[in-house]
């Protein structure tokens, strides 16, 4: 019986932090990709906004998001950003030792159609501010995805020690 949900690569950020987390040379032999992350960055606020790019491309991204703060729900488009996709991390203003969990699912990543991305992302802070995000992203590019880059994003320069990211390949047969 074939293995279906297979770890391709993993990263754990060491002391001193990391300016990016990169998965490269992704084989085309799976059906879908899934990236599971636990992130904290050095943005001074409770919530950080890491970015996601494919194949080092900085164009043709769009997104719709639904997020809740614990007191209200909102929907937006990340300000209409087109050079990346954006989700959540705990920033340095969050309660110490807290990291945001996100699940990034990319179906048909090696196909010749534009790429759809689904992200569930949560920031829990055990304090006033906390955020939960449901995200739909699109990379309007028909290239197969061969690399995934995560950057700390808006007003942040590094991911914190103990942040983790694991890339899985999923086979449909």
């Amino acid at each position: 019986m074939p293995d279906t949900f297979i770890k391709i690569a993993s990263v754990t950020v060491g002391a001193g932090g990391a300016s990016s987390i990169d998965f490269t040379s992704i084989p085309s032999t799976y059906t879908d990709l899934c990236v599971k992350v636990s992130l904290r960055n050095n943005r001074s606020t409770v919530t950080g906004y890491p970015t996601l790019k494919f194949n080092s491309s900085s164009s043709s991204y769009s997104q719709r998001e639904l997020y809740g703060t614990g007191s209200a729900a909102y929907s937006g488009t990340a300000g209409g950003a087109t050079s990346y996709l954006q989700f959540y991390a705990d920033g340095s203003g969050a309660t110490s030792s807290t990291f945001a969990s996100s699940d990034i699912y990319i179906p048909n990543y090696a196909g010749s159609t534009n790429k759809s991305v689904s992200i569930d992302s949560v920031v829990e802070n055990n304090a006033t501010e906390a955020n939960s995000l449901l995200f739909a992203g699109l990379w309007s590019n028909t290239s197969a995805i061969t690399s995934i880059s995560l950057a700390p994003g808006d007003s942040a320069t590094s991911f914190s020690q103990y942040s983790t990211a694991v890339l899985y390949g999923i086979k449909s047969s």
Binding site: M1, P2, D3, T4, F5, T31, D32, S62, Q63, R64, E65, L66, Y67, G68, A73, Y74, S75, G76, T77, Y105, P107, N108, G111, T113, N114, K115, S116, V117, S118, I119, D120, L134, F135, A136, G137, L138, S140, I170, K171, S172, S173
Partner: protein
């Protein structure tokens, strides 16, 4: 090492069609996961992928959803439906494709009603979280997905059914 997340069946459409069915689903798994990557052949709108179990067309499905369209966050609920709402899909105008991921826990038990938790991601229209209820205690042995605007899924749309074992 046992495989816990196993593909049961997959379909990639070689031509446009309105319906796909996963039948003869074995009862040997703990949970099911359905994954879709699809588009409608329509040139406008964002129809739903509708879902039925065991061919049941009776009005025993209900759904609650939370969705965002890029400007508003909305929650809604429907009852007495003849199908479940799985995921919404984009049309051909933006050359976009939408993903749907749904989990059906404890699908083979004959004691409880069945629940589907699903996520739908279509960056051209909606991001959606849904829960559907099928008010039947029957074990699920088939899952039918069909294009909800009476149209077709585009060529290249892919649907996969996975079985998940807890041990």
């Amino acid at each position: 090492m046992p495989s816990t997340y196993t593909p049961i069946a997959t379909t990639t459409l070689g031509s446009a069609q309105s319906t796909i069915t996963f039948s003869s689903i074995p009862s040997t798994y703990t949970d099911l996961v359905v994954v879709s990557y699809a588009q409608t052949t329509a040139s406008s709108g964002s129809p739903s992928i509708n879902m039925r179990f065991n061919g049941d067309t009776s009005a025993v499905y209900s759904m609650t959803q939370l969705y965002g369209d890029g400007s508003s966050a909305v929650s809604a609920r429907v009852t007495g439906q003849s199908f479940a709402y799985f995921a919404n899909i984009p049309n051909t105008s933006a050359s976009a494709w939408g993903s749907g991921i749904g989990s059906i826990m404890n699908y083979a038990n004959t004691t409880t009603f069945k629940t589907v938790l699903s996520r739908s991601a279509d960056a051209t229209f909606y991001t959606i979280a849904r829960v559907n209820l099928w008010r039947s205690t029957a074990a699920i042995n088939s899952v039918t997905l069909y294009e909800g605007s009476s149209g077709n899924f585009s060529t290249g749309s892919t649907f996969t059914l996975y079985g998940v074992k807890s041990a």
